[in-house]
């Protein structure tokens, strides 16, 4: 999923301080799962805004809504009226949803309440970890299913640097596993250790973010 964290309250409040009518719009998919922008987070942020406004003597109407996904245009229909009503929409979706909301309602100011972080998985309740860097050309098959680009701090393709110690990465030994230790262990388990002896050539980064804004077209699905 795309993981995100809510921005500090002060930053959000500054962005929307001149909105007299504010819609806080949650998203029901990834950011609900990673507890950053689901219905509960919307309610919590709305409470904080109301309390802060009251304290500061500001008058502002706040509406709350959460739609299934902000990355699909259709779901916005349900809240079209609220969006029309609002001076500003505070999107609690990832950067994708927040932008898409603005595209769906051109002329409406949409501001993000979240910082979008990475493609991640739930390690355990309350902990999300990065697993994919979206390089556009998946190399997992060569590395036993462990991505050297996302999981090595330096995205090394040919083995661990000298900072691998006791399975941990020197960049943050308390929290980070050495991605290459994981690759090594997995390849060993799979009996494929010898494959790591091949020198990996330079990677084509143009398939991912370095190739400009991405676009996928499924010809069979388009008309």
């Amino acid at each position: 999923m795309i993981t995100a964290e809510r921005k500090p309250f002060g930053e959000i409040a500054d962005m929307v301080q001149d909105a007299k009518k504010l819609l806080i719009l949650g998203c029901g998919s990834c950011v609900t799962v990673c507890m950053a922008g689901g219905e509960k987070e919307v309610a919590m942020l709305a409470s904080a805004m109301r309390l802060a406004n009251r304290k500061a003597g500001r008058k502002a109407d706040i509406r709350e809504a959460t739609i299934e996904r902000q990355c699909d245009r259709e779901w916005f229909d349900k809240v079209a009226e609220d969006i029309e009503w609002a001076d500003a929409v505070l999107s609690m979706a990832c950067g994708v949803g927040a932008q898409f909301c603005g595209e769906a309602f051109e002329g409406k100011r949409v501001v993000p309440a979240l910082n979008t972080k990475f493609y991640g998985a739930t390690e355990r309740q309350g902990v999300w970890v990065e697993r994919c860097a979206g390089c556009g050309k998946c190399v997992l098959a060569d590395f036993g299913g462990v991505c050297p680009i996302a999981r090595c701090s330096k995205s090394l393709l040919n083995g661990p640097c000298g900072g691998s110690q006791d399975g941990k990465c020197e960049v943050d030994p308390d929290r980070l596993d050495c991605g290459w230790q994981l690759i090594h262990d997995r390849m060993k388990l799979l009996g494929l250790l010898d494959r790591l002896e091949a020198v990996q050539p330079l990677k084509d980064w143009s398939a991912g973010g370095d190739g400009g804004p991405g676009r996928i077209v499924r010809e069979d699905a388009t008309l």
């Binding site: 701090s153 330096k154 995205s155 090394l156 393709l157 040919n158 083995g159 661990p160 640097c161 000298g162 900072g163 691998s164 110690q165 006791d166 399975g167 020197e170 960049v171 943050d172 030994p173 050495c178 290459w180 230790q181 090594h184 262990d185 790591l196 002896e197 020198v199 990996q200 050539p201 330079l202 990677k203 980064w205």
Partner: protein
Amino acid sequence: MNALKSGSRLEQVLAAGQFAVTAELGPPKSADVEVIKTKAASLKSVVDAVNITDNQTAIVRMSSIAAGALAMKEGLEPVIQITCRDRNRIAIQSDVLGACALGLRNILCLTGDHQVFGNHPTSRNVYDMDSIQLLAMLKGMRDGKKFACGDDIRNGKNAPVVEPRIFIGAAANPFGDPFEFRVVRLAKKAAAGADFVQTQCIYDMERFERWMKQVRDRGLHEKVKILAGVTPLKSLGMAKHMRDNVAGLTVPDFCIERLEKAADKAAEGIAICVEQIQKLREIPGVAGVHIMAIEWEAKVPEIVNRAGLAPRPQV
């Protein structure tokens, strides 16, 4: 190795089967040329070549090529370090051409310390490639006479091919994990194009010897010249810091104990270093020693002398 690849002094010493000695020179954190002059003065004629570090530990310093050119003027032979952290394949190839044009003949390929350790931790890193890919790229430039993209190294269709003639080095860390992969890394570096390697500083002799055995078992010492790294311990504090805070380094207890007992910690540190060099010379496959006297360049002559490595051979 009959025909020399670069003709550098370091290459010649190693080719002649002499026990090579290299040292390290950290460029200044300013545009101050005097720093290079002072450090060079103590290293001149004492060692065969001197590594010029590339923004080591991700702290901004004078560029290694510029500092290397200045050091050369002072009579040293530089080994230019290049890391993958700050430049992409375009910039690095451009730098290599430039270095070569300035007469610099040795280039050492490194992945580079992560920027979080340095003074610009919020910067963006590059890591367009890793050190092994860098080695392969440089070998391709020298031997294949082509850029990484496949184009010939020439100024135009009819212009001559002028490839960089360089002696290519790499680093090796026998102390990182996973231990059994360490020798594989060396093999990959040799395969990618390393002519020589310098190791991380060695205190844990037992682990180094185990690693060297693996190296010899694979015959790697015959493909690539191995210079064992040493760092004299300046003080007890430094020894403890190296033991506790530097990933990929083990400082054995006996070193700490010796320093604890010694009245003159610095002298004891030098003594330990000299003993280590003598032990390293005994290990088959070790072709030289790389003395990394961190901000202590002045002590290198004493170490080289006491280790019986002076004077350096003329080539």
